[in-house]
Symmetry: C2
Subunit: 146 residues, 2 copies
DNA sequence: CTAAAGTTTGACATTGATGTCAATGTCAAG
DNA sequence: CTTGACATTGACATCAATGTCAAACTTTAG
């Protein structure tokens, strides 16, 4: 394993856009390439394509991927996730066009979200408390006390 | 569907304990009986047994079941979940005995929890904002503005 | 006693999220 | 050109969470 060939270099386009490829994206987000493709297949992401067929990503995509991964891990079903992300884009644009059915679906999920947040928060506090009480308080270095 | 037979009645024991059976529990928590058994099998729950073999639950179990279900839906892996619940009990008792390895595992999960909470919160806000902006603001009746 | 509803255990199917493998193409270094 | 790292697509495997079904027992209504 003597690293002879340098890891792939992000190719800086003349416009200054840093076109990442999937490997770089994976490294930056901690999300396996396999999953990135999966999320794209599920309609949660879109990726540009280099002339050779490679997927290309922007810095903005890095954030999006991280967010998608985090939400998936939080148990948000991919369908809902897609709707949410689409909404954020539309909201950023301007036209809050939102059919009744979708609105109801969202309203229903809203309380579910509240529950999850509450549960996670409680669990977080539990973990913090336990770590703080044991001799492993040092491990609390990260995650500021809020 | 002419309901002739009454739904099972919780049998009040001489001690005043309300011994629920799995069906009642399911109705109160919204968690399918199948899942309650599953969670028990996974070591996330314990249930008393009536002389006839039926599982019996206390009011405290109702809360616990609801919490377990919510956390599972939030993407907490069952192994971690078990650890957390056990910790809460021990913490309630007194002896915060916590081997190093477990502590590290928890510390690692802690930041993950922070992330999830942040993501969910953001999503919640997004949904609220969208609902509020559309004509479906009425659906916001539940979920207080915090 | 009988029927209906509830419960038990256990087996099997499914769905979603991921891991893994395979065959092939691209690209940069030597 | 050859090699090695990375990418692509697609098939297959795995794991957790749930749904579904079946056979047998319990309880309660009539």
């Amino acid at each position: 394993m003597t690293g002879t060939t340098d890891p792939p270099r992000a190719r800086t386009t003349p416009t200054g856009t840093t076109g990442l490829r999937i490997g770089e994206l994976a490294r930056r987000t901690g999300v396996a390439p396999r999953l990135v493709r999966y999320y794209e297949q599920q309609g949660l992401l879109r990726a540009g394509r280099a002339p050779n067929g490679y997927r290309t990503y922007t810095d903005a995509d890095v954030e999006r991927v991280a967010r998608v991964a985090s939400m998936v891990r939080s148990g948000i079903p991919t369908r809902l996730l897609k709707v949410i992300l689409d909404m954020e884009e539309q909201a950023a644009a301007e036209a809050p066009h939102c059919p009744r059915t979708v609105a109801e679906l969202l309203a229903a999920e809203l309380s579910g979200l509240e529950d999850r947040i509450a549960c996670l928060t409680r669990s977080r506090d539990t973990i913090r408390a336990v770590l703080a009480r044991t001799e492993h308080a040092a491990l609390l270095s990260e995650a500021p006390a809020r």
